[in-house]
Symmetry: C2
Subunit: 224 residues, 2 copies
């Protein structure tokens, strides 16, 4: 990838919104870009990674695997999202695995360069903290959902949190969606079918239309 | 509380380990301390809090409540732990509730003062990020545990992660512990009894002795 093209892409990322032109130039100068084909594993839990990683294009998932091979997706990241956030101060041991859901590209800045950037201007740290606090909130919601809610309620919460103009774009396969909700693909199928029959949603290929948001909210809150 | 006494307490907190004497003096000068009696609610989900909050003494829990009143504890904090971490950049809306498990004291720095401290020397931000990344890892482990593991496995994971010299100090009531594991107190009782009968642990009031750590690891990993 050309450096000018890279500069254009990263200038749009909110993660770098506090960086000046000089800092962006420097970032791009020291960055390397690697390709990650769909389904490729970028790293696995307990392996080590340091430095700054930001998804440039595509889509990746961060997930845990149990000993019997069951997967639980924790986060799905799109372009502009950083990962391995903790590695700047720790030994870099990773709490989960990361794999590509689509053909993706990853920007990488070496630990030495990243640390020197941070020392020079801590602005980027504030944006990092913003990302971390958002993820912490999401993780807490997920704990809430997994521990306190039944399957239809979790699914309703997922749709309502991602709804835009009455539509939810399913940019994930059913299989991947089921790993986010923390259920089997079969249970997801059944729950979607039931919600359709009850007139709450209408599923059309990769789009879900929210037909009755009031009742969907009641399902989410366990009142229906 | 006397300012000198307060200075002595906060100097020992790793959260402030990067602060120089001047910054610590300033922090203490602007701090207010409030008391939080056992069982008191400090804030509830969706309320707003800004500024820096650090537990000085006692023990508090951060938790979510479902609509039918079921509680899930997400974190338990002891002295030196900050909370409302996100409030420095957001509108301060809180993702969960916080209540005291013991008589506690909370140090508070106003948003304006906190921001001016951070601007002057961002050292404290690095420690904040360290705390956030640790909590993010813990939250991910919890998601893993809730979604992928059965009750005995969760309980084994909890004991093994908190074991020191073969002992786990239960500084929480069974009722509170059950809210961390995400089960009913009755299910916790049964699981503890079974682990005792199987010779994995020995429970003595507020202490759990790990009798057979090898087999307990097998339970945690779902191999037993």
């Amino acid at each position: 990838m050309e450096k000018t093209e890279l500069l254009e892409i990263v200038s749009d990322f909110s993660l770098f919104s506090r960086l000046g032109k000089d800092q962006l130039d420097r970032l791009v100068k020291h960055a390397t870009v690697s390709r990650l084909p769909k389904r490729a594993l970028f790293f696995s839990e307990s392996s080590s990674r340091q430095g700054l990683h930001v998804l440039l294009s595509g889509q990746v998932k961060l997930f845990k695997v149990s000993d019997d091979g069951k997967e639980q997706t924790i986060f799905v990241f799109g372009p502009g999202e950083p990962f391995c956030l903790c590695s700047v101060f720790s030994d870099g041991r990773l709490p989960a695995s990361l794999a590509a859901l689509e053909d993706s590209e990853v920007l990488f800045i070496s630990p030495a360069e990243y640390e020197s950037m941070v020392r020079e201007d801590p602005a980027i740290l504030l944006n990092m903290m913003r990302v971390m606090s958002r993820r912490l909130k999401e993780a807490m919601d997920m704990i809430d959902s997994l521990s306190l809610k039944q399957v239809p309620s979790r699914l309703a919460a997922y749709f309502l949190s991602r709804e835009r103009d009455g539509m939810v774009l399913l940019d994930l396969s059913y299989r991947e969606l089921s790993k986010i909700i923390g259920i089997t693909p079969e249970a997801l199928s059944r729950a979607l079918k039931k919600m359709g029959e009850d007139g709450l949603i209408r599923v059309d290929r990769s789009e879900v239309r929210i037909v009755d948001s009031g009742r969907l909210e009641e399902v989410r809150d366990g009142r229906l």
